[in-house]
Symmetry: C2
Subunit: 355 residues, 2 copies
């Protein structure tokens, strides 16, 4: 791949073009090998008309942050989100126009449209949402699913493990990322029936060399960096993610409150400012924005709806890395390798002791 | 109740008597209306022989932190944990000798023994573990279940809501604590099938005035203090709790690392010390130790296994408050009121819009 072509849904998110355009402009400047397709309302995108390496794709509709999935899917056929995703697909008359798509819009609508337009990869029943959380090693733990699938089977969790491994291989260059199953204890007998069966499937895939399976992990292991990839269903993952965001915000607020309590603490805050700034940078969620929608026949990245320009730029960077490292091919190859080697009916997999 | 009698499993936890005894001694000094039953190995408890308002109950076995439930239940019939719980029960020859029991031992064994010895309250299928998490209002959010039940039905979640409400009423004195259902979005259509049905049951109980039902809450609402009681299944609750503990510990570590990076940051740390201490006190998990095992015909509290003497003292204090405020009677009354007013077959409850 010589150049990376990113289709950007410029209207998505809480702030739309007022943050997506400045982020795109900065990204173009720092990435000479990037071409952008800016998708959105013609008026809103007018400022970008003269930018280099940009193509403006005018659309007439916007998927609102609170639009039900059905509206996005059935009614708004000329939405910026839908058109941006469609650029990943080849048509009868033209090859695909973009390598990856980024949107800060409504997650449910984005997943539904991406699934409808792109279809899932063969061997994958359900796409999953994967994102990264900073850990104590100064690295990142990749976690999935973060909310696309509330009711999962053991087979779905195995598929998530395969996709998560491929994601980490592609983006971080680790050849055999370790995978943990999020559970409520480290022993194999812990957890719900689905989780126990998922553990069996994962152990089996690990024993056969298709996955670097670590075993069960618990909530605190996400931050300890015990494994590279944490696998869970979308309900648990979403609760864990929002719990994380909530606690980080509450702790930051407590710090602020304590440092602004009296004139003396305010003075202490001034002296401690450089330290507090470094701390803030380490836990700043803006720095690791950009979740991957995995398992589709196309690369779609989701930015936080409330992202600012810096944060949206991070999502563009993750999308760029994924495209540059051929994430789609890597996921596809991993799936073929792992899932085809599994028994046709995964229910037949014998329970094996951990390798 | 004139006096509060607490049965303490002195052998439980990672540190046993070396922390439980000092905590008991301090608690006796600060609570003149308390009598303690100190349960454990005779040698270990010898230092307490001369303490006032103490009865030593010598036992010959200890449930280890990693003992399987079956060992605790079937083999170690003279364990300190089992004997401490048994003091809550009247026998043919004597009334109950304690009002509440506290242990820092193995959670699975404690729940299994408590359930076996005490039985559940009528109307409750499964006991739940409830604990508190500090929120932004400077108050506490009560959360249950935190790990006793990995596979829950909608009816179980309704029972948890009733028990959690009674707990908050009894301990915090709030007459109508608000209850939220932990979900992945605020809309009623969100979540798994079980969660959606639980939402229907809770809305119905709320509309009938049996519960102050708020609606769905998300992971970040735990810390925002959106509701007094957050209800979830034990898998999700346990993951959320351990995620919380993990992130709090990681953030504290980041703060420590940043403040010890250079001589200059160390100087800043000295100046900021009083502020950092206040901050640490606000997020210190030791301060809110003590989870309630709810739904049993007896009051049992669980301390963190790694508790120090201060923290174990907090668990004693929560147990004391619960007994003093007749938590058991309150839970019982609430259950009678709420569950008996529900239709015999909760599956028949019509879906109602939020009140």
């Amino acid at each position: 791949m010589d150049r990376v072509r990113i289709a950007v849904d410029c209207m998505g998110g809480d702030h739309g073009p007022s943050i997506t355009l400045p982020a795109c402009r900065a990204f173009l400047d720092s990435h000479p090998d990037v071409d952008l397709l800016l998708v959105g309302m013609a008026d809103a995108l007018a400022p970008a008309a003269s930018w280099p390496r940009c193509t403006i794709v005018a659309t007439t509709e916007i998927v609102a942050m609170d639009d039900p999935v059905e509206i996005a899917l059935r009614r708004k056929k000329d939405s910026s989100m839908r058109v941006a995703i469609s650029k990943l697909k080849a048509t009868a008359t033209s090859p695909a126009l973009a390598d990856v798509c980024v949107s800060a819009g409504n997650t449910g609508a984005l997943m539904a449209l991406a699934r409808y337009l792109l279809k899932t990869l063969e061997g994958i029943d359900r796409p999953a949402i994967a994102s990264v959380i900073p850990n104590e090693h100064g690295e990142f733990t990749t976690m999935l699913d973060l909310g696309a699938n509330v009711d999962c089977t053991a087979e779905h969790l195995l598929q998530f493990a395969v996709m998560g491994s491929a994601l980490v291989s592609a983006i971080d260059g680790k050849s055999e990322p370790s995978v943990g199953l999020l559970n409520i204890g480290s022993e194999v007998i812990k957890g719900s029936e689905v989780i126990k069966r998922a553990g069996d499937l994962l152990r089996s895939a690990g024993a056969d060399g298709h996955l670097n399976y670590f075993g069960n992990v618990e909530g605190n292991d996400i931050f300890k960096g015990t494994v590279d990839v944490v696998v869970c269903d979308g309900f648990v993952g979403n609760v864990a993610l929002k719990t994380t965001e909530g606690l980080a915000s509450t702790m930051s607020r407590f710090i602020r409150e304590e440092f602004t309590r009296t004139w003396w603490t305010k003075l202490a805050a001034i002296i401690a400012m450089p330290v507090l700034k470094r701390f803030r940078a380490r836990v700043d969620p803006r720095g690791y924005n950009g979740a991957a929608l995995l398992g589709l026949q196309g690369l779609v990245f989701k930015s936080h709806g409330s992202a600012d320009a810096y944060s949206f730029g991070r999502a563009l960077a993750r999308a760029y890395d994924a495209a540059r490292n051929r994430l789609l091919d890597q996921v596809h190859d991993r799936i073929v390798e792992t899932l085809q080697a599994m028994p046709a009916n995964p229910g037949d997999v014998p329970v094996r002791p951990a390798a």
